[in-house]
């Protein structure tokens, strides 16, 4: 995609919520030998993550975040023009969960509300849509909710995913302003590789059957049903190591910037080994690379805004140029070049 440049749009604030329930990867995943558990944790950088109980959905985490954010900013929900919910874990197959959130949050009936069915790239795709609504459609105030409860998609003994994936929900408020730094966004999609990261059955293409719900050892050694999340780890590693790195390198070349011109690199929290490799390839020093994976794991659509909230409590409020990159299901990926200027954030909320 060509680079889109959005003007006179500001992120006013970001909030994030996670469930209280902690999963300790070494203590709780006893289905693997302890030595192997320790090696995996060392590699992924995920000693623990949060897991929702059955009654809490992604939308609940986003709702709590949104209410805290609007209250903290003293923004009347009735002034919201659009509610966007980026997630791959909606409440229902229909309707868009964003419609339900419009009502729960008190956004007006005159607002537009829709879901974006995306996971790890959900935040960057969501920012693109929010900016497009403001710049293109003339909306003044857009609430972007971005979150996932991936633990609901994973079989609890699938070693390929349960050491990584956690739950989280976030809210970001974007507004039209008289002047601001440009927000530059590039999005990419390659659907030819969608089967490397997907839930094979349970949708309209392959409806749920007794067979698709059966838990069995799959060819990759993972234990799950066809209605659980499948990840081809090596192909996803390859995707991240090549496509994502090349896109980021291409973007930085096109902008004629090096890592020195960027304050922070905020990547989707895929795994620590991968992100360290990407950052090193782009010549970012470790202190410029923000993480939340050590506390919350890979939280899909929540991971970038959750990382911002997790770190911004200890960052200056001055203008901070950040390069964001989300990548995952689709396969889809994107880059957002944004200056965060005095954004409102509060500590991560636990529910």
């Amino acid at each position: 995609m060509a680079k889109s440049i959005f003007k006179n749009i500001k992120i006013r604030g970001i909030a994030a919520a996670v469930p209280k329930n902690k999963v300790d990867c070494i203590r709780d995943h006893e289905f693997l030998p302890e030595g192997e558990r320790r090696k995996i944790v060392e590699l992924t950088g995920v000693p623990e993550y949060r897991k929702t109980p059955p009654e809490i959905c992604s939308s609940d985490l986003c709702e709590v975040s949104a209410k805290a954010l609007l209250k903290g900013l003293d923004v009347d929900p009735a002034s919201i023009d659009a509610v966007i919910f980026s997630t791959m874990t909606p409440d229902y197959k229909a309707p868009s969960t964003a419609c339900i959130l419009q009502h729960k949050l008190g956004a007006p009936i005159s607002s537009v509300a829709f879901d974006i069915n995306m996971g790890c790239s959900g935040y960057v795709v969501g920012l693109f849509n929010a900016c497009a609504l403001i710049q293109g459609a003339g909306l003044k105030r857009v609430l972007l909710l971005s979150g996932d409860t991936q633990t609901k998609l994973c079989y609890e003994k699938d070693k390929n995913v349960v050491f990584l994936l956690g739950d989280g929900g976030t809210a970001t408020l974007l507004e039209a302003v008289e002047s601001s730094d440009d927000i530059k966004i590039e999005l990419m999609t390659d659907g030819s590789r969608f089967q490397n990261l997907y839930v094979p059955a349970g949708g309209c293409r392959r409806p749920s059957t007794a067979s698709s719900r059966e838990i069995k050892i799959e060819n990759d050694g993972g234990l799950r049903s066809e209605e659980h999340l499948y990840m081809n780890g090596m192909e996803i590693f390859k995707f991240s190591a090549t496509d994502v790195v090349k896109s980021l390198q291409g973007y930085m070349e096109s902008e004629k910037i090096s890592s020195e011109g960027i304050d922070y690199l905020i990547l989707h929290q895929a795994n620590k080994f991968m992100n360290d490799k990407i950052a090193k390839k782009l010549k970012f020093s470790p202190e410029k690379v923000l993480y939340s994976i050590n506390k919350y794991g890979n939280t899909a659509a929540a991971s970038i805004p959750l990382t911002i909230v997790h770190n911004f409590g200890r960052m200056d409020a001055k203008k901070t140029r950040c390069l964001l990159s989300g990548f995952g299901v689709g396969l889809s990926w994107g880059i957002v070049d944004i200056v965060l200027d005095s954004i409102y954030s509060l500590p991560v909320i636990e529910i």
């Binding site: 090696k39 995996i40 060392e42 590699l43 070693k159 390929n160 990759d220 050694g221 081809n232 780890g233 090596m234 590693f237 390859k238 991240s240 190591a241 090549t242 790195v245 080994f273 991968m274 490799k277 990407i278 090193k280 390839k281």
Partner: protein, 79 residues
């Protein structure tokens, strides 16, 4: 050095060095899955003080010969 690489490779996969030849690939060794592969790359980096490029890490998931050659190439770079 080749023997040392083979020994460490076997130790991480928890198989014997005799089970490994240059042609050994992930398809033949159930233990060599993607997660173990990344653990191995990380283990070799730590053991030998090298830094494997992410694209090389992907290439190494072909067979033992490729894995070994890339480790040796990186060892030469470090000297």
């Amino acid at each position: 050095m080749e023997e040392k690489i083979k020994e460490l490779f076997a130790a991480i996969l928890q198989i014997t060095p005799e089970q490994i030849s240059d042609a050994t690939s992930p398809k033949e060794v159930a233990e060599w899955d993607s997660l173990k592969h990344i653990i191995m790359v990380s283990g070799f980096e730590e053991e030998f003080g090298i830094d494997v490029d992410p694209e090389e890490a992907v290439e190494m998931y072909k067979d033992f010969q490729t894995f070994k050659e890339i480790i040796m190439r990186n060892l030469i770079k470090e000297v």
